[in-house]
């Protein structure tokens, strides 16, 4: 009985504490919410302004349809399954190009970072190829591969290769030499040294490369799909242009923006998982 009474007293005390501290708690929650949505306030305001200007007739619908019109067009495309199909095709292309180009870039970056011999023989070539804008190869790529999947894969892989290669090379070459010396003195085998010292040390730089690569990945894919494709978001936008469906064109552009943001968020999550040790990624201790 007394226990129950005490429990009741304690819970009353807690409730009391809650009401007296209510304002600061609410303020803290509000601050957390504000932090989460802050980045979206400006886009939302712009969309609202755009809708308003369309409604009053300031923007003609055949120049730029209202956001609501685009949303309903998007809904139609989503219901028919076209949008999902094109998005899936584009995403698959983008990711397979990223994987192929990323792995090749990673391998060359690591090899040239570790071995002077390898760097002497390949770096000059790679730097020369890098200075050719890879989109300039589109005519050649169409001649080689037509408008098949290989063409897109080749261009995306080529585009993402260089940022990943250069940043991996830089990361491997700037790993703290004192740590490498420590690893050697403590008897690490070359493989252990690579796995426990060199790769984790190069990882922050590799992530910088990945972020650059994601931007180039979308850019390349969209250009390639716009010029030569029979499916995908770029193709969808081009086809819509031919039928003067401005709402679908704008929809495609908005989807690019969202996909870019999504890729960035995913990289951020990956960074937090892999770089937990890094002071820049640690939560400040209270």
């Amino acid at each position: 009985m007394s226990l129950v009474e005490r429990g009741a007293k304690i819970s009353a005390a807690i409730v009391g504490a809650d009401t007296s501290d209510g304002a600061p708690v609410r303020r803290a929650r509000l601050a957390a919410l504000e932090g989460r949505i802050a980045g979206w306030i400006l886009p939302a305001l712009l969309v609202a302004l755009w809708e308003f200007l369309s409604r009053i007739g300031f923007i003609a619908p055949n120049v730029l349809p209202a956001p609501s019109a685009i949303a309903s067009a998007g809904w139609q495309a989503l219901k028919s399954g076209d949008l999902v199909h094109h998005m899936a095709v584009s995403t698959l292309r983008a990711l397979s190009g990223l994987v192929v180009g990323g792995i090749v870039g990673l391998v060359f970056g690591i090899a040239n970072g570790l071995s002077d011999l390898s760097r002497r023989y390949t770096d000059t070539t790679l730097q020369m190829v890098r200075n050719v804008p890879h989109l300039a190869l589109i005519p050649l790529v169409i001649l080689w591969f037509g408008i098949e999947e290989e063409a897109k894969l080749f261009l995306v892989a080529l585009g993402v290769f260089f940022p990943i290669y250069i940043n991996t090379l830089h990361g491997v070459r700037t790993v703290d030499p004192q740590l490498i010396e420590m690893g050697r003195v403590y008897g690490m085998s070359p493989f252990t040294l690579f796995r426990r010292v060199i790769l984790p040390g190069a990882l922050p730089s590799i992530f910088v490369g990945l972020r650059f690569a994601l931007g180039i990945m979308w850019l390349t894919l969209i250009v390639a799909e716009t010029i030569a494709a029979s499916s995908g978001l770029g193709y969808m936008a081009m086809q819509a242009r031919e039928f003067l469906l401005v709402d679908i064109v704008v929809l495609a552009i908005l989807i690019y923006a969202l996909l870019g943001k999504l890729a960035d968020v995913l990289t951020g999550v990956l960074e937090h998982l892999c770089l937990k040790w890094h002071p820049a990624f640690q939560k400040p201790r209270s």
Binding site: E181, V185, P200, L203, K276, Q282
Partner: protein
């Protein structure tokens, strides 16, 4: 030169040592035209605590790097007393050199022989952390530790394999004065317990005298002074004997 030299009189004859003795025979190291070490003849018996001091650039760190196998002599040779494996010699650097992407416990495990695996590996590393007084920080990232704590983790890592010779390259040089005194006590306690051969490079004469059985002064690549410190431990800081020895060393360093 006899390697199995009898322990000096101030080391109790009964003290069991598994330390590794080392001797230098006309040892020299040259970088280009610059002779950093020249004709160094020295024998360090097993289990002795030797401090090597000298002005910066005198070649004392080079001597340590030669012992640890990080560098090769250009003249003469280094002789170890009997065979030894890779884990017998450990070096502790001036910087902690912890892997920032591994937790404190995993960093200590770097020092363990590869043969120790699984749970035994964690246990031995935990025991070493307890030895340096950081048992409760095993799960932390190195970045959150203070300078003195990082250097203690580095000490635990160096001692994890039970080395027979520990080379210390100014490991306390970057610490503040109070932390340094605390660390000196820790190093001395562990050395008294394990009796490995310790070679401490330092530019701090009082630190050398607080810890070492023998102080070797290196000047312009030569051994300029080889001084026994026959004082009982633990040594009282600021005692008259220490002050007298310190005066002699400083006089030799700056008096010419």
């Amino acid at each position: 030169m006899t390697l199995a030299a009898a322990p000096s009189s101030f080391v109790p004859a009964s003290a069991a040592t598994h330390g590794l003795g080392v001797a230098f025979e006309r040892l020299g190291r040259q970088f280009g035209d610059k002779r950093v070490l020249e004709r160094v003849d020295l024998a360090i018996p097993a289990g002795q605590f030797v401090a090597v001091i000298g002005k910066s650039g005198c070649g004392k760190s080079t001597l340590l790097r030669l012992i640890a196998g990080l560098d090769r002599p250009t003249a003469g040779r280094i002789l170890f007393e009997g065979p030894h494996d890779g884990e017998a010699i450990r070096i502790m650097f001036q910087e902690p050199r912890l892997l920032p992407w591994e937790r404190v416990l995993a960093n200590v495990e770097v020092g363990l022989p590869a043969l120790v695996t699984g749970e035994a590996r964690h246990q031995r590393a935990r025991a070493m952390l307890a030895e340096v007084g950081l048992a409760d920080r095993a799960g932390e990232w190195p970045a959150v530790l203070s300078g003195g704590q990082k250097q203690r983790v580095a000490l635990a890592r160096a001692l994890a394999s039970g080395p027979r010779l520990l080379a210390l390259d100014e490991p306390l040089g970057a610490l503040d004065a109070l932390t340094r005194i605390e660390m000196q006590g820790l190093v001395e306690r562990i050395w008294l317990d394990q009796r490995f051969t310790a070679i401490l490079v330092t530019h701090d004469v009082s630190e050398a005298l607080a810890l070492a059985d023998r102080v070797i002064l290196i000047d312009e690549g030569h051994v300029a002074l080889d001084l026994d410190v026959p004082l009982p431990r633990p040594r009282r800081r600021g005692s008259a004997e220490l002050a007298e020895l310190e005066g002699r060393i400083l006089a030799r360093l700056f008096g010419g």
